[in-house]
Amino acid sequence: MAYQVKLPVFEGPFDLLFHLIQKQEIDIWSISITEITDQYLEYLRAMEELNLEIASEFLVMAAALLRLKSKRLLPSSSSFWEEEDDKEILSIDSTEDLIRKVLEYRLFKEAAFFLREREKEQKKIFFRSSRQPRVYRQTRQETIWDESQEPEKLARLFQQLQERELKENTRLSFTVTEEYGLRQKMKYITDRLKRSKSPLYFSSLLQSHSVEEIIITFFALLELCNQSEARVWQEKKFGPILIEVKEA
């Protein structure tokens, strides 16, 4: 069995770059893009040799680095570089830009480290479970326990309300049709429509705006549509309802 080389694992290309720069022990702003690029590629090669899967982001970064490196070798005025504007997550315009991004990444790496410490600390502390007082209160005989806190009560109440709503709706529609007379209202609408040259607004058909009247007018209108006497439309969602006579 061959010996095993242990490669450190990096969260992403910036993580790796930061590690490489740190290893050089130089001011980050004075890094040589050539050196960093070489070291970066070397790491990828090592990964390859170990048959490790290389995430695509690492390769994208390698390409970006190579581009930066070769950019220095060509005259800066060259239009050669104004090609594909890749909208990849990694768009790096210059070495400065690269350094800025590595530094920014490093900040959050530190922040993540801080969170890791807090997490470790917190995991060691246990609190009384918040459901416990219920047990406590029940066993204390004098129940302060309040049944309004039972979710089943919510379900029961909602069910009752729904049933009531159902009943009331049926009753309402019944009495309304009785009292106002659907026929009468339909006749009123057709008369109005015939007299009018332009389409009518639904609201103009109403005299009192009571709930009952709105409902009966609406029913009448539906009935007219059903009998192909009227045409009804809205210009937009929730817009006013427009009505006109449907020509035979």
């Binding site: 416990q132 219920r134 806190q149 909602f158 309300l161």
Partner: protein, 174 residues
């Protein structure tokens, strides 16, 4: 495991346990004999009483648990009744039920289901943080939409809104 005074370990276990702890269970966790556990429990009990603390050791269901001294019950009741904890009125519960099962929902829709104008109730629920504004309805006037809060779940001891009891299917509306 680090060396710790066993009495403090037992106290910690009693503090966080969700159910009364039997001496067997304690002995198993702390890895000392049941007799030693019994002795330490006794010491704890006496210390709580001797130093007139706010904690007592109680026996229940063949196990032990921490509770408060009976003579402090007036304070405990006050704690649970002061401020944010008066029980909800029926109107509030009805409204809450509607919001819980129909969220997101507007005031007008709530009123329509209850058949009553419940102006103040929604505000009370908002103030108690049992409901919150979750957006606006794309309808004329863009009325606010209400939904339940994490506080609501806690109040009813739910982990998740889906733990609300399912409703029996009502007949389809005509």
């Amino acid at each position: 495991m680090p060396e710790q005074p066993y009495k403090s370990v037992i106290e910690a276990l009693l503090l966080v346990a969700e159910e009364p702890l039997t001496p067997e269970k304690i002995s198993q966790v702390v890895e000392i004999s049941k007799e030693e556990v019994a002795g330490l429990l006794n010491e704890l009990r006496e210390e709580y009483e001797r130093h007139s603390r706010g904690i007592r050791l109680y026996e229940a269901d063949e196990g032990y648990k921490l509770g408060t001294p009976p003579e402090l019950s007036a304070y405990i009741e006050k704690l649970f009744s002061v401020g944010a904890s008066p029980t909800l009125s029926r109107a509030a519960l009805e409204t809450l039920a509607i919001i819980a099962y129909r969220q997101p929902i507007t005031r007008v829709e709530i009123d329509a289901i209850r058949g009553v104008k419940g102006a103040g109730v929604v505000d009370t629920l908002l103030k108690r943080k049992l409901i919150q504004v979750v957006g606006r309805k794309e309808s004329p006037g863009r009325p606010q939409l209400y939904g339940t809060t994490p506080e609501f779940l806690k109040y009813f001891g739910l982990n998740d809104i889906h733990e609300l009891p399912p409703l029996e299917k009502l007949q389809d509306k005509e």
